[in-house]
């Protein structure tokens, strides 16, 4: 750690990991409710558990992005953070808002939460992923503005690197597109159309800039490859991401009442969306192969390579699988979508946050470069357990989705939804088992922070 103010990243990373645990526990509840329908009913109905699962995911990724930003921006800008006190204050506000919102989901019925937070003054609740009470959304905007101000001022007063500019651009985009969450027209088609301006333009747009910038930063640090080379790759990757991804939004406009030309625009452009992820994989492996030094933090390198591969598989391959309109006509809104969503979020965004945590946390905790061997080996176990478990979750959901699509949509005598659900229950059971393995990996991940803390740092091997 080169600048004192980078230390503000630490609480953000810790909060991210705690919310990650909550997310996975509620994921397991959901998985069980798929096969034991009355599990925790009516105390925690499926929709409530799902809100907790998806909202904690989004919030912990945001904590991770903010922590990553506070860590890398001062180092890139070669200056202290503009206002560390503001970063600390915003941390507590964001954590309190997140905690109160999750408590609200769990303690009162959703309609009551809407009533006590006065949703009717500015109705924004009850849309997928954007279920937060309006007051929470306003809080998110306030936190985002203070955060962008703090980071922007730091970038302005310091060295301007491509990593910092791309990251800042991604973060500004994140804040700007979130504003569409306040637009909830009565017209369902318009409502859905602009809902995607938040959801799609986040995860298949500006978040990819954040992902690219963090990955580039970590690769510069661990490989020692010339910054010029890495920055050129970064530009190419994010150029492809936005060129394909913006019009690629069209793959959500096939069946929601929007004109049918979107089937062409969406199919063609989103078929190209795997390209930036493929480039990212080539990039990460290339840089590691051309490394000028062997960084002692081997597990951070593993996470960085893992991110590139899993993002390509989850977002690229599993996205492509059902993005062409004639295929999507049958798979739209089935377990195929769920399969893609799980692996894409894990591969692209969960893993990039775990990458930067893996790189930065040893330094934030006073190590000079890396954790002890013992700790790194345990973290590598957690990497493999979580990643392999996610691969199996995705495969089982894909199996469920193929059967569901066939039985309910394609076969000559289509069967009702609930009848089909019972027929594919075996896949849901296997998914749940894979989910338990994922939790085991997460437990090992957390343990890796506490083992071998007194052992010496892992040694550096010379480049062969």
């Amino acid at each position: 750690m080169q600048y004192k103010s980078q230390a503000v990243a630490k609480p953000y990373f810790i909060a991210a990991i705690i919310l990650f645990v909550a997310q996975i526990l509620f994921g397991l509840i959901l998985g069980l409710q798929y096969v034991v329908g009355d599990f925790l009913f009516p105390e925690i109905p499926f929709n409530v558990a799902r809100m907790v699962h998806t909202n904690t995911l989004i919030v912990w990724l945001l904590f991770g992005f903010m922590g990553a930003t506070y860590y890398l921006v001062p180092e890139e800008a070669e200056t202290e953070l503009f206002a560390p006190w503001l970063a600390k204050l915003m941390f507590w506000i964001f954590l309190a808002a997140a905690g109160a919102t999750v408590a609200g989901y769990l303690l009162v019925p959703y309609a009551t939460l809407a009533e006590i937070t006065m949703n009717d003054l500015l109705p924004t609740m009850g849309r997928e992923f954007l279920e937060q009470p309006t007051i929470t959304k306003i809080g998110i905007v306030v936190v985002a503005l203070a955060f962008l101000f703090n980071v922007g001022m730091t970038v302005l007063k310091g060295r301007k690197t491509v990593v910092n500019l791309v990251l800042l651009l991604g973060l500004v985009g994140l804040a700007v597109f979130f504003l569409f969450s306040f637009y909830v027209p009565d017209n369902l088609v318009l409502d859905k159309f602009y809902w995607w301006w938040v959801v799609h333009l986040w995860v298949e747009g500006v978040w990819e800039l954040i992902l690219g910038a963090i990955l580039a930063f970590v690769l510069i640090k661990i490989t020692g490859v010339d910054r010029e080379v890495i920055e050129k790759w970064l530009y190419v990757i994010i150029a492809l991401a936005l060129i394909t991804g913006i019009i690629g939004t069209g793959h959500h406009f096939y069946w929601i009442g929007t004109p049918e030309y979107w089937q062409w625009w969406g199919s063609i452009f989103s078929a190209l969306e795997p390209l930036p992820f493929f480039m990212m994989t080539v990039f990460a492996f290339n840089m590691v192969n051309r490394r000028r030094r062997n960084h002692p933090n081997k597990v951070a390198t593993l996470w960085a390579l893992g991110t590139a591969v899993m993002a390509f598989l989850g977002a690229g391959v599993w996205g492509f699988m059902h993005t062409l309109a004639p295929i999507n006509y049958y798979t739209h809104g089935t377990q195929i979508t769920a399969a893609h969503g799980h692996m894409a979020f894990y591969g692209a965004y969960v893993m990039i946050v775990l990458t930067i945590i893996s790189y930065a946390m040893p330094l934030l905790r006073g190590r000079t470069a890396a954790n002890s061997n013992k700790s790194q080996v345990l973290e590598m176990w957690s990497f493999w357990l979580m990643t392999v478990a996610m691969v199996f979750i995705t495969l089982f959901l894909t199996g469920a989705g193929i059967l569901q699509t066939y039985l309910q949509r394609v076969s000559e005598s289509p069967e009702p939804f609930m009848v089909v659900q019972e027929k594919i229950a075996l896949f849901y059971w296997m998914r749940e088992i894979a989910g338990v393995v994922f939790l085991l990996g997460l437990v090992l991940y957390i343990l890796s922070f506490f083992v071998g803390s007194r052992d010496p740092e892992a040694a550096i091997e010379p480049v062969s």
Partner: protein
């Protein structure tokens, strides 16, 4: 990727490409907005439908169901439930009304929301309006 392809070329492709395709996206959005009145069944959006949509949102129905294929995959698609239930609002209202408070042992069950008759009617009107949006023949069949 070396030699003649420089970093500034890559940067220009990024800025140029992003701006161009975002502007194209805005043009398509404008055209979509022009075309929507023919497709989105806006003539049917009465105050009762608006009330129904509000109830749909304030009870987080999307947390279990899909609507036009978007939402959660735990419970049936509702964009076409009106036609699936034989074009009957009463059937929809009857189903919602009759959900057991304690659920069904071992099975998935919709919660009992204790809606008033006026609220049930608004929800059914909202689902009827949704079913009449032109969705390019999606879903493939009545099962949703």
């Amino acid at each position: 990727m070396s030699g003649t392809f420089t970093k500034s070329m890559a940067r220009n492709i990024f800025y140029g490409g992003s701006v161009f395709f975002f502007l194209l996206f805005l043009v398509l959005t404008f055209d979509t907005t022009q075309a929507l009145p023919e497709r989105d069944n806006r003539g049917a959006i009465t105050p009762v439908v608006v009330r129904g949509k509000m109830l749909w949102e304030e009870n987080d129905c999307i947390g279990c169901h899909t609507l036009l294929g978007e939402g959660a995959y735990f419970a049936p698609e509702l964009g076409n439930v009106y036609t699936r239930y034989g074009n009957s609002k009463e059937a929809i209202m009857g189903f919602i009304k009759s959900r057991p408070v304690e659920g069904i042992p071992g099975r998935r069950s919709m919660p009992q929301f204790n809606f008033s008759d006026e609220e049930l009617d608004a929800l059914a009107e909202f689902l009827k309006y949704s079913s009449e949006i032109n969705t390019a023949n999606w879903p493939p069949n009545v099962q949703g």
